[in-house]
Amino acid sequence: MTRFILRISLLLLLALPARAQDAFTAALPGLAGGFGDIAASVERLGASGDPRALPLLRALQEGRLQKAGDGRILLPDGARLLDAATGQPAEAAGAEAVRLNNRVRQALRGALGRLQLVSPDPAERLAAAEAVFRSRSAENIPLLQAALARETVPRIRTQMELALAASQLVGSDAEAKRDAVARLGASGSVEARAVLIEARNANPEMATAIEVSIATIERALAIRRAAETLFQGLSLGSVLLLAALGLAITFGVMGVINMAHGEFVMLGAYATFVVQEACRGIPWLAPWSLVLSVPAAFLVTAACGALLERGLIRHLYGRPLETLLMTFGVGMILQQAVRLAFGAQNREVLSPPWMQGTILLPGDIAVTQNRLWIIVFGLIVLGLVFAAIRLTRFGLEMRAVVQNRRIAATMGIRTGRVDAMTFAFGSGLAGMAGVALSQIDNVSPNLGTGYIIDSFMVVVFGGVGSLAGTLVGAMSLGVVNKLLEPYAGAVLAKVFVLVAIMLFIQRRPKGLFALKGRAAES
């Protein structure tokens, strides 16, 4: 039995092109006739589903299709003309263009749309499916069914199924209609909702089913919106994470409050700009300049950090308020120096091609590539910091010096060098944050000031000296900010978050991931 069905299907498949070929050839002569004949032929060609019909109709649309005196239809191919029926070169003498009127044009649009459904080019098929969906005509049903039978690309299939459902909804088959309403509801797309709302008035007998489907779509849309908000929140959170990771080292681990941290972020962004300009002349390198910027920005800001620590900050250890003021002054000087060197206006850092555009995650959740990369980058950097602290000799010495400077010194650790390296490490992280920020924000001398307060909030909220706290703090601040934005606007959302943090500190003065016991007392 199965074998029988298979055989029949195979036969049918083989038969399809043969039949189509006939339809194609049969429709050709009409094109040489009057406008009525042309329009009829166009419709027949459109219905044929023959791949050869597409270039032919295109040529017709563009006014390039010729008819010979003997009624043969000639298709231009570069400089030559081909006989449309045989595909052989043909003599062009005496040929004239096939003319169009509005009726033909209208027929052409429909036919082309149908034909594109079977075009070899996937992009064309997708566009056609969307066009058919918009046109919503019951005539397209068989065509869509035929196209669906062949289609293998999932995205295009989805769109075709939507188009089919939309077409069936305006058809006459009540059974298919009910089915279509259900399928449109399951699609979860905005367009499907519009179609359903339109159909609600036309089909009062199905109003309940349609309402149910609309509700289903709205649920799906809400989930998608939530997912997109979450993504935006996570991406903002990653930016905060990057900016705050350095602070988690310098402020959280060393207890040095560096108000110039934001300016180090800014320096990192400018380093990215400089590397981009340097790579501009080298075509094969240019797309990768952003990758090169990461170590460059790290090294530049780490060097600045080491200088700052050795030159100034170490003289103020144990005097946090003075350190705060002093580093604020340093930040001011850095800002002004950059303003004089690069100008006050914004500098443009381009996104490399591989970071541009938007991709759709399952469920049609749109995410921009550069934001996605920032999340990935933030997590990689977090991993590296964790590894550096936990797995390297430097990390071990750093923790030793933090826990007990005197004993670390007696064990032969050069605490001064460890301080400088730790501070340089934290500053370098700021530089890496600057690379990421150059992708989403204006590179200007006061780039850092907008992030410094938020970063401090992250560290305070998450708990000083805890990487996990920094991660959770950054992500929750990012998400909460984005959650509030639709209701309160970006600015008030920020204000709310600041107020919320102040209230939160009431409950947990040491942050989310507080150290307890004696270690926390000192």
């Binding site: 003075e322 003021l325 002004q336 401090f456 943090i501 102040m502 500190i505």
Partner: protein, 364 residues
């Protein structure tokens, strides 16, 4: 840390000298508007510019006093005092806007121009009463005071001290700045308030008004100085210094640290608010830029430069840094931020007791 900060209460002869110098300084300042009345070719003539800028600096000096009272004595380094100053300024600004009356560009009988422009139909409720001068003065003190009370209570109660408090207060002024930039707050958004016409029936662009505002500021400075002196030389002042140097030890002596800190923080905010209220009519504008965290921290550096923990130092710092700023921004505007940044570095590293430290001998 504590050893580097002068304690209040110099004794005997020194105190007398300081008093004479201060009285002399006040008298010299008081002469300025009078010398402004001399003919311009007189050797002692003082220009309008000098009078108005000195009047502005006096309000800065009051702000510096306020910061010093909290930071120099009680160890509360607020990076948000600019917010209290600006709130006082906005209270005055609202009063001045109301006094414009129908003389605005749009000629609306009650609504200020920006409200007409933004399509307001009537005055928001929180603008009511600001047409009365005493109400405005009350608000210029009450609003900063209440904000300080709430923020201070939350912070001090959970023992947020040191840099944490600084960051919180900085976030506070930052949040206020963002809020005041919004048009729908009803405070003129980006542009704030300007084009003031008169105050207490005096047209603002006259010599008489300039002199009156100058004297009002000077009087407030003197009163503020006396109040601060009274506090710092009382036992409360010693409790504050004790809190600054060893907060937890003060608790074990039975002092409710939160109350003492709140007292000084709120008083300091009220002083800053009044200073802001006097500042606005002298400069003729108030906008959200006054809330920017940079302003607050710049005011802190005046105190550091002058010498914190001494009231004279705070005033001296406000005058000297602003004099430097005025001079440098005309001579070499690009250099000013380098100089200011350099001041931050130099004062913290090399001059922890400020300019005053140069004059008085170091403690043993």
């Amino acid at each position: 840390m504590s050893a580097s900060i002068a304690s209040p209460a110099p004794a005997g002869a020194a105190r007398l000298t300081i008093r004479l110098v201060l009285i002399g300084a006040v008298l010299v300042l008081a002469l300025l508007p009078l010398l402004n009345r001399l003919p311009p070719d007189s050797a002692l003539y003082v220009s309008d510019f000098i009078v108005s800028i000195t009047g502005k600096w006096i309000t800065y000096a009051i702000l510096a006093l306020a910061i010093d009272l909290a930071w120099g004595y009680a160890g509360i380094l607020s990076l948000g005092h600019g917010a209290f100053f600006a709130l006082g300024g906005y209270a005055m600004g609202m009063h001045l806007m109301r006094l414009i009356g129908p003389r605005g560009v749009y000629g609306h009988p009650t609504l200020p121009d920006f409200m007409v422009f933004l399509g307001y139909k009537e005055l928001p409720w929180y603008w009511l009463g600001f047409d009365h001068f005493p109400f405005m003065v009350l608000m210029a003190m009450a609003v900063p005071g209440m904000l300080a009370l709430v923020v201070g209570y939350l912070a001090f109660r959970s023992r947020i001290t040191g840099v944490y408090l600084s960051i919180i207060t900085q976030a506070m002024t930052y949040a206020l700045m963002l809020a005041f930039f919004r048009n729908d707050m009803g405070f003129g958004g980006n542009n704030g308030f300007t084009d003031f016409k008169e105050l207490l029936g005096m047209p603002l662009n006259t010599d008489a008004a300039r002199a009156a505002l100058f004297y009002a500021s000077l009087a407030l400075l003197v009163v503020a100085f006396l109040v601060c002196t009274r506090i710092t030389q009382s036992k409360l002042g010693r409790v504050l210094v004790a809190i600054r140097d060893a907060e937890s030890r003060v608790r074990f002596l039975g002092y409710d640290v939160t109350q003492h800190k709140l007292f000084v923080f709120v008083l300091s905010a009220v002083l800053a608010g009044l200073a802001g209220a006097l500042y606005v009519p002298q400069v003729g504008i108030i906008n959200p830029g006054e809330f920017s965290p940079g302003n607050s921290i710049e005011a802190v550096i005046w105190v550091a430069v002058g010498g914190r923990g001494t009231l004279v130092g705070a005033v001296l710092g406000a005058f000297s840094v602003n004099a430097l700023k005025t001079w440098l921004t005309t001579v070499a505007p690009d250099l000013w931020l380098f100089a200011l940044g350099g001041l931050f570095v130099a004062v913290t590293l090399f001059l922890p007791r400020g300019l005053i430290g140069l004059f008085s001998k170091a403690p043993k």
